[in-house]
């Protein structure tokens, strides 16, 4: 990998300069309270990469959730995006690696994420990083402009605590958004 960046905790001011990353058709921009909620609860899971010239290159935002007793305690990737000019550097992989490492330390069983079925670039990247499709969530992404809603893949990667890799055995049937916890 050749990321060559400064990786640091995301802070509130970054919200005012992450346009070059978020002006991407597949990157969602949420309301400020949503980001603040992540900054408040899971600051360790919100990491931004900065180039030597000060440009924001990309960021990852995630959280830890699920029941430990049911072996569902896991890390979740809520957002991962890299600005166009900093793609093809392995930055996304680096950020994912960090999120997995944090989840390992928290004793998570796996890491999961949702991705648009159509977003082949991302799906392939996650596969390369060791993720597999655990289940399909029907019409998870609602479309605004009259186009049909889009399905999501729920992709997972087992962490070392899940020695038998039970958490990633694919479900035989797709599920609906209301059925996921």
């Amino acid at each position: 990998m050749l990321t060559m960046t400064t990786l640091r905790a995301f802070n509130c001011d970054d919200l005012f300069k992450f346009n070059n990353i978020n002006l991407d058709p597949l990157t969602e921009t949420y309301g400020i309270p949503f980001y603040l909620q992540y900054l408040a609860h899971w600051p360790e899971y919100f990491i931004v990469a900065e180039a030597p010239g000060g440009e924001l290159m990309g960021y990852i935002m995630g959280k830890a959730e699920g029941s430990v007793a049911r072996e569902e305690w896991h890390g979740h990737v809520t957002a991962l995006s890299v600005a166009p000019e900093f793609r093809r550097l392995g930055l996304a992989a680096k950020l994912m690696d960090m999120l997995e490492e944090i989840s390992e330390r928290k004793g998570g069983f796996f890491v999961d994420l949702f991705v648009r079925v159509s977003n082949q670039v991302a799906v392939n990247m996650y596969k390369q990083l060791g993720y597999s499709v655990y289940r399909t969530v029907i019409e998870y992404y609602s479309a605004s402009n009259g186009e049909p809603d889009e399905d999501a893949y729920d992709m997972r990667k087992a962490l070392s605590r899940d020695t038998e890799k039970k958490s990633i055995i694919p479900l035989p049937h797709p599920v609906r958004p209301e059925d996921i916890e």
Binding site: N19, Y30, A51
Partner: protein, 933 residues
């Protein structure tokens, strides 16, 4: 909804249907069901609250509130009522009432952990930090759990952060918080990582860096595990604060050995190194250099350190990391700053950058990496450097058009990088017009050729060659700015449209199109483009402002409320002004309109001292050389300009608000004494506001004069409407108009008999206002868009001036309405007197005839304006874009088609603006009738 408590409770069973109705949005049924239940069980308080929720949700706020207070006054202690009331108060936006509720509950059930914690959270929602602290301690006394104790500590820190008096924070809140944590540390009761984090935060705020360092490096620091490298990062921060350069250096070294690609540690390594050199620091004779290990304290050590990192990369099988290569350049830069001759040991920058390009030139980030170090080249090396790089780009044989092209995307990226570097070095700017046109041609060939590599790209992906297109657009803009040749602008717009057709998600194309359309005053395409950017939430604040210029007749989008944002204040002010221009005295009276937007002229609610500039001025990709880039001076000047403009607009708005307070419907005016009914308090705000306007306008005039020669870079902030509004004369004209009421109030007090001088003065003001309005209108005349010699020329400033004229007319008409309402009773009482005296020969008082003259001048001004608009409309409609010749434009037919599309868009946008302005003016003409006295 609310938790339902224990299943066994019969009340729960009774309430269940109401909950269900509320959950399903069936509020009416919920109310009915609650009423039914209350008939049988009068004491079932929760049913009342649920009914209140139903009422609240059906818009009956007052009823809901009364009902809720009935229950609240009983100080309920059952879960159901408490939780339902909490929900209701939240929906009413009255979180402070929740605190009262749980204060009472806690009083009645002092041992309830649950109620105490609800009380704590209720205080948190309203920011009552002191009460939070007490509630936290009360809770800890009932249930000695660590989190409760630390809630209390955190509340102290919040008090420290929010305290106006910094001294109080440092002498009281923070030391108290520190002691509270220390107590737990001594008793070895620290459990969670968050507790250590909080301790660290307190010490850091107190400036107790030594103590903080002890915590991080000690046993407690072992708890800091969730963040990666949490301890190391915190130590580094503290070493910097404490100027512990040996430790800082040694730790950076260690971290770089672990990860030779983390830029921040190179920076701290170099920082600490040079501090150590400056201090002539030497390591101790024996033992460790410092607690963090080995320290580098000489240039030669640093050079070998960087070279070792490089050697490690070179030896690797896998692709090398970029960090060490850039670190070498960074070290050269720092050595050069210190005029340190040892830099030569690291090599010649040109050669090193060339090598970097050979290794990483096929990465899109190569340009951002190298851009930072271009200053290491001497100006006479620029051409040599670019030539050297060009030789290293694998291109095929030159085709018919004499341009050699890349065979794959890697070669394309390399070639593109050279072009980007050339632009950064100013080589493109140095070309003459023909040179630039040739460059554009070449870039376009590369752009079109590169499209083949992205045939399979999804709509959401960018094309590999998009940046060529953007760069060609930039060169067009350069030409346009330099030569004033508008053809360059039109072709640029056409090219960007073409780019967008191949790469519909390219935000940079859209941003530049937006910027240029705004410059042209063509807002129809702006709306579509902006919505296709899919900007949301905070992005409106950071990007939106760049385009919210002059969007007078375009619906402003609903903006995210970022309270202290400059942009937010601007949008809100403009929105209110726009509503008034469009509606006041047309669909409702000015007074009603002002009232409905709860505008309070006495109050300036813009937080001038804390206003924040949230614009993201870096959103545009640019490869301009440093001296042409946006700098801090531009940014500051732009903020100053924006604030001035906002001030003018907000004072205008408040003046109009004031004016509306002066206007009375005739019936009220006759039946009540105007000087005593409280409204008379208003004029006292009018005069100070007028003075404020006067001084702001003179400040603004000075500002524009001072900066008239200094434009912002085109990819920087757009200028506000300030300069043009001043030049159009509209601001001055509005001020003159708004001064009239003061004089009319004097006249009202003096009466018509004893006021010849005052009347003459007012008449003269009417006359001069007419002249000013005519001047402003004259500045609108001319063709918005014309085709001459097969070339298209736009004059957007005429449209802008027309908008100022209309805004001014609106203000003048409101003032006239007030004048009319003041003069009318004076006239009628005069006529009564006349009748009594049967004196028909008496002359009409000067002020009355003056006003009549004035209104008829207004009539003719409006007709003139409408005539002009009608003329422009038919002129625009008749314009045949087809007649434009494309000769000499070196455009292909396809390119020409895109350019024409752009022209059509501008034409149609102008037409629509004219129609909307015309519609408004016609409605305003109708209000003239009511000015008869």
């Amino acid at each position: 909804m609310a938790a339902r408590g224990h299943v066994q409770d019969p009340n729960d069973r009774r309430l269940r249907p109401i909950y269900d109705y509320l959950d399903n949005g069936n509020n009416k049924m919920a109310i009915q069901q609650a009423d039914k239940l209350l008939k049988k069980h009068r004491d079932l308080h929760c049913a009342k609250v649920l009914k209140a929720i139903g009422l609240q949700r059906t818009g009956k706020q007052d009823e809901a509130f009364t009902l809720a207070q009935e229950v609240a006054n009983l100080e309920p202690t059952d879960d159901n009522s408490l939780q339902a009331l909490t929900i209701l108060y939240r929906e009413m936006h009255r979180p402070e009432l929740v605190t009262k509720l749980y204060e009472a509950a806690v009083r009645k059930v002092p041992t309830s952990e649950e109620y105490h914690s609800h009380l704590f959270m209720a205080y948190a929602r309203v920011g009552e930090y002191k009460k939070m602290q007490q509630a936290g301690m009360a809770l800890y006394k009932i249930v000695p759990k660590n989190p409760y104790y630390f809630w209390s500590v955190m509340s102290l820190v919040m008090q420290a952060i929010s305290a106006q008096d910094e001294k109080l924070s440092h002498t009281m809140f923070l030391p108290l918080a520190e002691r509270m944590v220390e107590k737990m540390v001594k008793e070895e009761k620290i459990e969670a990582e968050a507790e250590v984090q909080l301790y660290f935060m307190i010490l850091e705020r107190l400036g107790k860096y030594v103590e903080a360092l002890e915590v991080v490096r000690g046993q407690l620091g072992e708890k800091l595990t969730s963040e990666l490298q949490s301890r190391e990062n915190k130590c580094m921060l503290l070493y910097h604060q404490l100027k512990h350069w040996p430790e800082c250096n040694a730790l950076s070294c260690k971290l770089l050995l672990k990860n030779p690609d983390d830029w921040q540690f190179y920076l701290s390594y170099f920082d600490s190194l040079f501090h150590l050199i400056d201090q002539s620091w030497t390591p101790p004779e024996e033992g460790d250099h410092c607690t963090e290990g080995e320290v580098h304290c000489s240039v030669s050590q640093a050079i070998s350190f960087v070279e070792e990192r490089l050697a490690a990369e070179e030896a690797k099988e896998s692709r090398p990391l970029r960090g060490p290569y850039l670190a070498r350049l960074e070290l050269i830069r720092r050595l050069r700053q210190r005029s340190c001759s040892e830099e030569q040991q690291l090599g010649e920058p040109l050669e090193l950058m060339f090598q970097y390009f050979v290794k990483f030139g096929d990465k899109p980030c190569c340009i951002t990496d190298l851009k930072v170090f271009l200053e290491l080249l001497m100006p006479d090396q620029y051409v040599q450097f670019i030539n050297r790089l060009t030789e290293a780009v694998p291109l095929g044989e030159a085709g018919e058009d004499d341009v050699a092209l890349p065979g794959d995307t890697r070669a394309l990226q390399r070639h593109l990088c050279v072009a980007q570097l050339g632009r950064c070095l100013g080589l493109q700017h140095a070309l003459d017009t023909d040179g630039k046109l040739a460059l554009i041609r070449e870039l376009k060939i590369h752009y079109h050729h590169g499209l083949q590599f992205g045939k399979n790209c999804l709509k959401t992906e960018l094309q590999f060659s998009d940046m060529y297109c953007l760069m060609a657009a930039h060169v067009y803009v350069d030409l346009w700015m330099e030569t004033g040749n508008e053809q360059m602008l039109w072709q640029c717009l056409g090219l960007l449209e073409e780019g967008l057709s191949h790469s519909p998600s390219n935000a940079q194309f859209k941003l530049l199109l937006l910027l240029l359309f705004c410059r042209l005053g063509a807002f129809e395409p702006v709306v579509d483009l902006y919505s296709s950017l899919d900007a949301k939430h905070v992005q409106h604040d950071t990007i939106g402002q760049l385009f919210h210029r002059q969007c007078f007749f375009i619906q402003t989008r609903k903006m995210n409320r970022l309270n202290n944002s400059l942009h937010f204040a601007q949008v809100r002010t403009e929105r209110m002004l726009l509503d008034l221009y469009l509606e006041a005295d047309i669909s409702s009276t000015l007074e009603e309109s002002v009232k409905s937007m709860s505008l309070c002229p006495e109050e300036d609610d813009i937080p001038w001292d804390n206003i924040r500039d949230n614009r993201d001025l870096t959103v545009f990709v640019s490869w301009n050389p440093k001296d042409r880039q946006l700098n801090e001076e531009h940014r500051q000047r732009s903020v100053e300009e924006e604030a001035l403009w906002l001030k003018i607009r907000s004072v205008t708005l408040r003046l109009v608000g004031c004016l509306s307070g002066l206007c009375h419907p005739p019936s009220v005016r006759n039946s009540e004494k105007t000087t005593e009914n409280g409204v008379a308090a208003k004029p006292s705000t009018l005069q100070p506001l007028l003075s404020q306007m006067e001084s702001t306008l003179s400040q603004a005039a000075q500002f524009t004069e001072r900066h008239s020669q200094h434009q912002y870079p085109i990819l920087g902030p757009p200028s506000t409407r300030l300069a043009q509004a001043l030049a159009s004369g509209s601001c001055q004209c509005q001020l003159s108009a708004l001064q009239l009421p003061i004089h009319l109030q004097e006249l009202e007090a003096a009466g018509l008999d004893q006021s010849a001088e005052l009347q003459a003065q007012i008449s003269n003001l009417f006359k001069s206002l007419t002249v000013q309005l005519q001047d402003t209108l004259n500045k609108c005349k001319g063709d918005l868009l014309e085709v001459k010699d097969g070339r298209c020329k736009a004059q957007p400033s005429l449209l802008e001036n027309l908008v100022y004229f209309v805004e001014t007319i609106c203000v003048v008409l409101w003032v006239s309405n007030y004048c009319g309402s003041t003069l009318r009773p004076l006239k009628s009482s005069l006529q009564k007197k006349k009748k009594k005296k049967k004196d028909a020969t008496a002359v009409t008082p000067v002020v009355l005839s003056g006003f009549q003259e004035f209104t008829s001048s207004l009539q003719s001004l409006l007709s003139q304006a409408l005539e002009h608009i009608k003329g422009q409309e038919s002129h625009l409609t008749a314009l045949k874009m087809e007649s434009l010749s494309l000769e000499g434009l070196s455009q292909t037919e396809e390119e020409g088609a895109f350019t024409k599309t752009v022209m059509d868009k501008v034409q149609s946008s102008y037409l629509r603006s004219l129609q909307e302005i015309g519609d408004l003016l016609r409605k305003r003409v109708d209000t003239l009738k009511s000015l008869k006295i």
